[in-house]
């Protein structure tokens, strides 16, 4: 469904991604693993074309999306949940959802505000609160909910468990499992295996922008030395 083919991305002169290639099949949850600074966020941004890869191609549903404007990428059904959350702090929860709203898309769930409030009950109580009044966990939920309002077929989740309470991490796991059950494809980035273990089908490990391992969770479990070398525990 999504395929990265030897992409190289730069920030100015800094070479951040080096010949990265991997694919995600429909309905899969792929975990992109690596330490802080490994290039996970840049990979996400390179898929969304917020960072334009200098060489290589990103293919989504058979279309080459390299170099496309980000809003067009989003319109094709790629939903982006950034690591820094970037909710609109001056807008209410409902207004934040409104920004993410897109017309229904064939083959994906058409989300409504009420469905999202069922998924994230905490947000329902805070629907008229401004973004800046939310807790970190609530902001994280809002970011995901806002992206789902675009009825994506594929979601990029950049470190969703970062900096939020364990209880909420539990809730995130359940949410991702449900999204997967609904047929959504997910690329999830994490620094360690705790979260990924509960949801991922396959894993890609990167370090300094280079790919170190690609395989299923079972294959990774068979090679503890890889885990020890490239992931934080």
């Amino acid at each position: 469904m999504l395929e990265l083919n030897a992409i190289n991305s730069f920030y100015g002169k800094a070479h951040v991604l080096n010949d990265l290639s991997f694919a995600a099949e429909r309905g899969q949850v792929v975990a992109l693993l690596g330490r802080n600074g490994a290039g996970k966020t840049t990979t996400m941004k390179s898929i969304m074309q917020l960072v334009r890869p200098k060489t290589g191609t990103v293919t989504f549903q058979g279309h080459n999306i390299t170099g496309l404007a980000s809003h067009k990428v989003a319109k094709m059904g790629l939903g982006y949940v950034p690591e820094e959350r970037r909710i609109f702090t001056d807008l209410t929860v409902l207004e934040n959802l409104e920004v993410g709203r897109q017309p229904p898309r064939e083959g994906t769930v058409t989300w409504t505000q009420d469905m999202l409030f069922d998924l994230f009950p905490n947000l329902a109580e805070r629907r008229d609160n401004r973004g800046k009044a939310l807790s970190g966990g609530e902001q994280q939920m809002l970011t995901i909910a806002r992206t789902l309002m675009g009825n994506p077929s594929f979601v990029l989740l950049d470190e969703p468990s970062e900096g939020i309470a364990p209880v909420i991490v539990e809730q995130m796991v359940r949410v991702i499992q449900q999204l997967k059950a609904d047929g959504l494809t997910v690329l999830l980035s994490e620094q360690n295996l705790h979260f990924a273990r509960a949801v991922a089908d396959t894993t890609v490990i990167i370090e300094s922008g280079s790919q170190k391992f690609t395989g299923t969770l079972d294959e990774l479990n068979a090679h503890p030395e890889i885990r020890d070398a490239y992931l934080s525990v």
Binding site: A69, S70, H71, E98, V99
Partner: protein
Amino acid sequence: MGLFIAQVLTGLANAGALFMVASGLSLIFGVTRIVNFAHGSFYMLGAYIGYTLMQVLPGAVGFWGAILLAGLAVGVLGVLVEVLVLRPVYRAPELFQLVATFGVILVIQDLALLIWGPEDLLGPRAPGLRGVVRIMGEPIPKYDIALLVITPFVALGLWYLITKTRVGVLVRAATQDREMVGALGVNQAWLFTGVFALGTALAGLGGALQLPKGGADLMMDFNILTAVFVVVVIGGMGSLPGAYLAAVIISVLNVFGVTYLPQSTLVLMFVVMVLVLMIRPYGLFGREEVAGEHGQVGEPERPFKPAGLQVRLLVGAGVATLAAMPLYASTFSQVLATDILIFCLFAASLHFMLGLGGLVSFGHAAFFGGGAYVAALMVTHADSPMELAFILAPIGAGLAALIIGWVCLRLTGVYFAMLTLAFAQLIWSLVFQWGDVTGGDDGLVGIWPAEWLKETTVFFYFALTLSVGGIIALRHVAHSPFGYALRAARDSARQAEATGINTKRVQLLAFGLAGTMAGLAGGLFVFSKGSVFPNELEIARSFDALIVVFLGGVKTLAGGVAGGAFFKGVEDILVRFEYWRLALGLLIIVVVILAPDGIVGSLRKAAERVGLLKRGEDTT
């Protein structure tokens, strides 16, 4: 009591146009992050187009229809400007866009002159609303009452659009993080164009609505621009209620000012602004600007390096060629060269605080004209010898810069820029309205240099020595530890603070030094011309310097000088033509679009391409 109420009502009526223009500016800034200097020009266009339409369309329906159509037409022109001029430069440095909008001002000025001629046009009266109504015995024009009623409806409509509709939600979201809005599937280009259309249409509407009160003339653009900036800053950038309240405050105060303190009307506005900003630095309803916002990540700044041997030789040769001018060039050329040298020093002083300090001042003319006026006032009122008056020019300008800088540096970014503009306008209005001392509009004349400097050639050498000396001194400071501290404060204020640099003090000193050098240029200017007029303090003069710095290239040390020479040279040729503004405006727009690195930056890139310079090396 009757008079009091009548004046409040007049003020409220006057606030209408001001509010519409200000809210348009505020909206455009919020979403596109562009301070649209051309906003006053769209207001002017609204008035002219409305005037023409009113000639054609009959009766009351025609009158009000003309106003609406004028707003629409200006909105369409706004789209044209956005697509043709601004779209190509959205990715350019934020400040470069200012210069583009200034180019638009010049183009519109001349187009208006071309189409509607130089005469002021008297606005037609509104059918059915001629004459006055009496409120508590005081006459109030019926049209004022109409304006009083219309404005709140426009304000409410706007408020509804922004707070209650999807478009409004998107606009507010984009104001905060436009990249994220794009990543959620919203086409920003469409949003930008839409907001620009709305903002300019509001300006056009304001211009057409005030026709029966003020008519249409070619000075409208700059005249309203200052007031609009003041309103936006007092109300808080991006706040509609703020813009409305501030427009009312300014307009009502202005009406009272005209009655009780006629000499101070212009000053009053700025005094209110400074007072408000002292108490609420981001305006009545504004929020603090967050540094390092999303969606505006530029290339990292190149480091400056001291000039290499080659460059030094080149500069030396250039100065020698200049110094030898009296041997081969006419007196007229020497006068022109003196003008250019003075202007280069002025531009270099602005570049020093803008390029190195990241302090974008919209009011640098305050110190250029200020220096000139200090010297001229000394000669006129104290009969002081030229030498003393001349030395006091940079000192006076430097002191003024320290005081003004101290106030302005409490703010950052666009608020800082607006505040510098306000102070410059404050000084301009003081000079303009305090005729007994400053000569007002007639200026101060007969300010000639001392006997030993009377010769054109001698004065040329005098100007050459001081300008080149001043520029070299600025360069020297740029490479001193102070210069490093200044750049550190520009690139990362917090880290600079953490390493023990008192960033505010460093910036204040830079502001003071830049003011001093501008004052020196002003001193040279007044004695080279023998006179000084308030227009040396005008916004247009500040903009000249800004344009020059951007044309030359903000990121190169030679930028100010190269831009100054280029600009003065081109201006000298262009002003011989009738429609030189049009030509200059188009030239500026073309340069902005084609050479966004400025003259020096583009030359360097070209040199890198052909291998004359190593990449990343800066020897300018």
